[in-house]
């Protein structure tokens, strides 16, 4: 999504200045596109969650969800991910204040918290695997790993984007509006967090 | 077309006039009429064809209760659709004829009249509501299974159907008590035999992929999905053969997965039932058929079950016979092969794809009047009527006759199990023996 928009068609010399975007709606193209993308992502996770909900009870003689969950641990890691949303907000507000230093700091903290979350997921998966729940063990396990795995990949991609953004801000190579770019990454990050809350509630908390 | 082309002038004159295409607008008006004309022709063709031929799977010739319900619902819909079509095309034709460019002045630049627009929303809405109400009623009526009189299990697999008749709690099968033998489940394939005037409930599933059971003249189709049990009501008053075909794409030989439903008068059905339950009799010693029995045991019985067949080879003690039980799931991926106990009581084989009857004998049975149909069907396949050519070809090399994944080496993903019947490398003598043996299976 890191494309920079064409200046919308108001076509006067004033708009050659890339900062001054002007569009029919007042929203920047990038932001609108990010919203659209997230809308599409909703259906992606919708499909995955539906698959999981259909198959969560299908493990006739094998491990079921309620046997392997470690709710306290997952709660802790969910909390960490939520905290990262907070630090992301701090990063965005620093970016709006044109405070590059703190933007970088908070982006880095967000990325680290995200990395901790993913590390927690790796830990959790390893535990489940050792306890006998492989990817192909049952329909429940396949759909569980697919759903949470997709989410994990989203977080991982987000972290790589965040760290790269830190690097790009450091080297002053962010094309276009810096604050807006940080904000866009923030949108994505919040979305991934919200999806996790949904997954945590549906998959872990609501008893099967 | 040639008659019209002379009206086409040079495409356009290359001036820079904004209206350069006036030249092409002079078109023969007769051409306009073609569009509705073609539409009308197509409509007429459909109407015509519905009663023009006697296709065995014609959906417009219901012969069963549910098919009739569907038919009673669908023809008014077709009619309505036809009338709407004619009206729309009529309006279009009038428009095209009346308003083509005859040099009139620029029309008013109107964006429409709300009244007309709402009217044109209301009209289809009313028509569709009129269709929707009976539709819902029929959907519910078709799903009603309260008054079932007979349950038969149907199992689809690549590329044939298996039927098994359950023994009810009261010891009857399909409401009929066997005369002589004790009731036991009956397993057949290809041709489903049901009693006339009986509300039969098929309970279907599948062993591999999704198949669909469809006897157009008796009812609509129903997918038979592995892991699920779906049901379908069949019933008819008229004895006869009703043809059908698997309609959910099920792989390589989808086109060769057919089935028939045989409707028999209750008496005839009783006869059929008793015959199916008759104990197995071995062919007479020393006949070709007896040799065929041994060949069958060595070559076929691993997959194909013949109920009551015992293997007495290699033992002198007559009481030490072993019941021959087939284990198709070790050789065939779907886990089943047709039960051949009464093969010659049916008149098709290999997924009802090929006829066991010669063309003449086939016509005798298939085109029989309802009154005589039962007798002719129950006569089974006699030696004179046997379609030996195709049966022989089949035994010689079945995958060549009907495409199947029969080469175990290709099928690493199925643990070497074939899908469909493999090539068995039978000798011509063995084939002779088998045919003699199979001829007695009825």
């Amino acid at each position: 999504m890191a494309d920079t928009a064409v200046a919308p068609a108001t076509g006067h010399d004033a708009h050659d200045d890339h900062g001054a975007h002007h569009s029919s709606t007042g929203l920047s193209n990038n932001k609108l596109a990010m919203w659209m993308f997230l809308g599409s992502e909703c259906l992606l996770f919708g499909g995955l969650i539906s698959t999981y909900m259909l198959y969560r009870g299908r493990h006739s003689e094998n491990l079921g969800p309620d046997q392997v969950w470690d709710i306290p641990f997952t709660s802790a890691s969910s909390f960490v991910l939520l905290m990262s949303s907070l630090t992301m907000v701090l990063a965005v507000s620093s970016a709006h204040r044109k405070d590059d230093r703190n933007t970088k700091v908070w982006l880095m903290v967000t990325a680290l918290l995200g990395a901790l979350f993913v590390a927690g997921q790796v830990y959790e998966f390893t535990t489940f695997y050792r306890e006998g729940l492989g990817f192909t063990t049952s329909l429940f396990s396949s759909s569980f790993y697919t759903l949470t795995g997709f989410h994990g990949v989203h977080v991982t991609v987000g972290i790589i984007m965040l760290t790269s953004l830190v690097g790009m801000i450091g080297k002053n190579r962010v094309p276009g509006d810096k604050a807006e770019t940080v904000e866009l990454f923030g949108l994505y990050w919040h979305f991934v967090d919200v999806v996790w809350i949904l997954i945590f509630t549906l998959v872990y908390l609501i008893p099967a | 077309m040639n008659g019209h082309t002379n009206h086409d002038r040079t495409i356009w004159v290359g001036s820079h006039d904004a209206h350069t295409l006036d030249a092409v607008s002079a078109v023969n008006p007769r051409r306009r009429r073609r569009i509705p004309g073609i539409a009308a022709a197509v409509g007429a063709a459909i109407a015509l064809s519905a009663c023009a031929t006697d296709a065995p799977q014609d959906t417009w010739q219901p012969a069963g209760e549910n098919a009739q319900k569907i038919h009673d619902l669908q023809w008014p819909v077709f009619l309505t659709a036809g009338i709407v079509g004619v009206l729309v095309f009529g309006l279009l034709a009038v428009t095209v004829l009346r308003f083509r460019d005859k040099g009139q002045s620029m029309p008013e630049q109107t964006h429409g009249k709300p009244v007309i627009e709402y009217l044109f929303i209301a009209i289809p809405a009313v028509i569709l509501a009129a269709i929707a109400i009976p539709t819902v009623g029929v959907v519910m009526a078709l799903a009603d299974t309260d008054d079932t009189e007979c349950v038969i299990n149907v199992t689809g697999q690549q590329w044939w159907w298996e039927y098994d008749y359950e023994v009810e709690d009261d010891g009857t099968i399909c409401g009929f008590a066997p005369t002589a033998a004790e009731a036991a489940p009956i397993v057949t394939s290809g041709q489903l035999v049901i009693p006339a005037d009986t509300k039969v409930l098929l309970r279907g599933t599948s062993r591999d992929v999704i198949h669909s059971y469809w006897i157009p003249r008796l009812n609509g189709k129903r997918d038979m999905v592995p892991g699920r049990v779906h049901y379908l009501r069949l019933s008819s008053e008229t004895p006869g053969i009703y043809a059908g075909q698997c309609t959910e794409f099920c792989g390589l030989s989808h086109a060769n997965m057919r089935m028939e439903t045989i409707v028999l008068e209750p008496d005839h059905f009783q006869q059929w039932l008793d015959n199916e339950l008759e104990p197995y009799t071995s062919p007479e010693e020393g006949t070709l058929a007896a040799a065929g029995e041994s060949t069958f045991i060595t070559q076929c019985s691993r997959c194909h079950q013949v109920n009551g067949l015992v293997d007495d080879r290699g033992t002198d003690d007559p009481d030490d016979d072993t019941l021959v039980v087939s284990y198709p799931d070790q050789f065939v991926y779907s886990g089943a092969a047709p039960n051949l106990t009464n093969l010659m009581g049916r008149n098709t084989f290999a997924g009802a794809t090929f006829d066991l009857l010669t063309d003449e004998c086939r016509a005798d049975v298939w085109e029989a009047d309802p009154e005589v149909f039962g007798e002719r069907y129950l006569a089974g396949v006699t030696e004179d009527c046997l379609n030996e050519i195709e049966l022989r070809e089949w035994l010689r090399n079945s995958p060549a006759k009907k495409p199947m994944y029969a080469d175990a080496e290709m099928l690493t993903e199925t643990d070497g199990k074939t899908r469909g019947m493999p090539y068995l490398a039978l000798s011509e003598d063995q084939i002779d023996e088998l045919i003699a043996y199979l001829l007695e299976r009825k």
Binding site: P175 | H111, R222, V225
Partner: protein, 670 residues
């Protein structure tokens, strides 16, 4: 080129003789230079110009149309007589699977994308789409995805499970070749293309409209394209999930569709049709848009009930989400679901009917000129109405259990897709050809083209209604005389007619290509600026448009802006008297004169095509070797970062020669 210095005193319609100035670069970046070519193959490979991309979409889609057509002809040859031997069962199954996949994903959708790409920015008065590089990425991804899909033919056989690819028939045990893997991954790739395209066009339409163009003044084609993009936006992720499950099932031993593990095969059907039904509207709505553009132009009247047509398009889009299970009436859903979906399906006929009636009413009272695009548009009304009415007959669920999976359905959707979408696209081709290429397509040839197509399609698909009602199921590699019925007009007769019709149709389509050749021979004249007396914004520029589309961004006051600039109503009260006050040339010359002098356009880029290239590499990796995935992923990462850090408009010194204000726009085609 990124920066266009347009000398304001010279009208650009008149191409200047002056060759572009050649300057020696002060500095050269060598391999690091951004691509700047405006001619030659590089200008196409690295272009981000929506018009070039649109043309490429069209050309590639046409190529796939031919491939899909050949597949169709082979199918019809096989079925011309009983027990056909042209194709083996296996080949036939691959053929119909790939025919459908090719036509839907590689022809109709990209062909609509071609028009959307080319016309939407022009229709809303924009200089390009919102994200030109993403646009380029979308095209290349589609192309590579399509090629990837078709390489399965030479790599062990194509997919053989039908375009709906029902589980569990798509599992490795039932489809042991790699065909289904190619299919799943290929669709995944083209899905990415569609998704990026959708986001791009939505943002473009919402955000980049010319001043004064409120949403209710947006040309109807653009409107329909926007509805389609929303459908894509929400439908693609659903099929993505399904395809991922399928891929995990086939490549990584997951059990999503293994019944032994307790799976429910209906999961696939639901996921597929939740995507698949909106897909139907994705296919047909662009054509509706085209027809709604063409009819007013040749009726010399505005579109009847424009707001209603817009809303009914949107309504079709919305309701289209609630009817997916009508593809599953025989699948064993409960009677309640069946009844609900049956009624919902009927409801969708209402907005569809609204469109048809509005089209007829647009023509009513007009001044109709039957040019080739108009013929095609009227053809759409007729053929689509037939398809729509046959659709109503099987929205009645009980009736559908007799018709589904028979040739009746084949007939129905070919009337809808060929009669609706494809005829509509041809209408668009004839209508916009002079705009896109500056040459008119030959009208006489076009008429032959049209009539052969119409006759061919009715001969081909008309008899299929009969075949279906007589009980011939779909997807059978042979039919047999045993089940053909008696009499002359039996199944055999209609099959033969359909096969003959297919070749007539093929001939008709062939004529289109001949027409292109004939119309572009040397010596054919340039098309006039406004050959059709058109009404919308895309005609207020040269043909073909300049790279920057408009010299000055037009200001819009009316729905049919161009018409209102050309004509003035001098009547009073109810009396109307339209006078032409300006010609297209005058209007364009005026825009020219007041044009912007310094226009920044985004620069071409290597990254989109590189990123697209990474996708099929990864896909081959999934099938053959994990290291290819790693390599592809590395290329993808590299391209994404290169892309992310590249300014969308290159600094002036990136050019060779640098833009020094001496360059003039030279038409790319002609």
């Amino acid at each position: 080129m990124a920066i266009i210095e347009r000398p304001t005193d010279t009208p650009a319609v008149v191409s200047p003789d002056a060759a572009p100035a050649v300057a020696t670069p002060a500095t050269s970046y060598g391999v690091f230079r951004r691509p700047v070519e405006t001619t030659g193959w590089k200008s196409w490979l690295f272009t981000i110009d929506h018009k070039k991309l649109g043309i490429m979409y069209g050309v590639v889609a046409m190529a796939f149309f031919v491939i899909g057509g050949i597949e169709a002809l082979l199918i019809r040859l096989q079925l011309a007589g009983p027990d056909g031997t042209v194709l083996s069962a296996d080949a036939y199954n691959q053929m119909f699977t790939m025919h459908a996949t090719t036509m839907v994903f590689l022809f109709v959708m990209p062909m609509a994308a071609a028009f959307a790409n080319y016309m939407v920015p022009l229709q809303i008065g924009a200089r390009d789409v919102a994200f030109p590089r993403i646009n380029a990425f979308g095209f290349w991804t589609f192309l590579f995805g399509g090629l990837f899909l078709n390489t399965s033919w030479i790599l062990g056989g194509a997919a053989d499970g039908g375009w709906f690819m029902y589980a569990p028939n798509s599992s490795v045990a039932f489809s042991p070749t790699n065909g289904v893997d190619f299919w799943a991954l290929g669709l995944q790739i083209t899905g990415i293309a569609s998704l990026t395209g959708a986001i791009n066009l939505i943002v473009t339409v919402i955000n980049m409209r010319a001043p004064g163009m409120s949403l209710m003044k947006v040309p109807i084609f653009t409107w329909m394209i926007m509805v389609v993009q929303f459908l894509l936006l929400f439908a693609i992720p659903v099929i993505t999930v399904a395809l991922f499950l399928l891929m995990f099932q086939r490549s990584f031993d997951a059990t999503f569709f293994s019944v032994e593990a307790g799976a429910d095969p209906l999961l696939w059907q639901h996921l597929f049709w939740i995507f698949g039904h909106p897909e139907v509207y994705i296919i047909v709505l662009p054509a509706f848009g085209i027809v709604s553009e063409v009819l007013p132009v040749f009726s010399k009247k505005p579109l009847f009930g424009y707001p209603l047509v817009v809303f009914s398009g949107a309504a079709i889009g919305f309701v289209g989400w609630g009817v997916w299970a009508h593809h599953m009436f025989a699948s064993g859903l409960g009677p309640i679901s069946v009844a609900v979906f049956s009624v919902a399906t009927m409801a969708i006929a209402i907005p569809t009917g609204v469109k048809i009636i509005n089209w007829v009413m647009t023509m009513w009272g007009g001044k109709l000129k039957f040019t080739v695009p108009m013929l095609y548009a009227v053809g759409v009304i007729v053929q689509f109405t037939i398809g729509g009415l046959s659709g109503v007959t099987h929205s009645v669920a009980p009736s559908d259990t007799q018709q589904t999976d028979t040739y009746y359905i084949v007939a129905h959707f070919h009337y809808v897709i060929f009669g609706g979408a494809v005829l509509g696209l041809f209408s668009g081709l004839y209508y916009w050809w002079p705009k896109m290429f500056g040459k008119m397509l030959n009208e006489r040839m076009g008429r032959w083209n049209f009539w052969l197509t119409i006759i061919g399609m009715n001969l081909t698909f008309g008899p299929m209604h009969v075949l279906g009602l007589q009980g011939q199921p779909r997807r059978m590699y042979v039919w047999t005389e045993n089940r053909a019925g008696d009499g002359f007009f039996n199944i055999g007769f209609w099959n033969l007619i359909a096969s003959i019709g297919a070749f007539v149709l093929a001939l008709g389509v062939l004529l289109f290509f001949v027409n292109i050749y004939v119309s572009h021979r040397k010596g054919t004249q340039k098309a006039p600026l406004d050959p059709w007396d058109a009404r919308s914004l895309e005609w207020i520029t040269t043909s073909p448009p300049k790279e920057h589309n408009f010299d000055r961004t037009p200001t819009v006051g009316h729905l049919d802006e161009f018409f209102h600039r050309k004509y003035e109503d001098r009547g009073e009260g109810d009396h109307h008297d339209y006078h032409q006050v300006a010609t297209a040339e005058e209007i364009i010359a005026e825009e020219e004169a007041k044009g912007d002098s310094h226009i920044h356009l985004p620069s071409p880029s290597y990254w989109p095509i590189l990123l697209s290239l990474a996708l099929p590499i990864m896909a081959y990796g999934v099938i053959y070797n994990i290291w290819l995935i790693v390599g592809g992923a590395a290329l993808a990462l590299l391209s994404m970062y290169g892309w992310g850090m590249e300014p969308h408009t290159a600094p002036d010194d990136d050019y060779d020669p640098p833009a020094a204000g001496t360059e003039l726009e030279v038409a790319a085609h002609g």
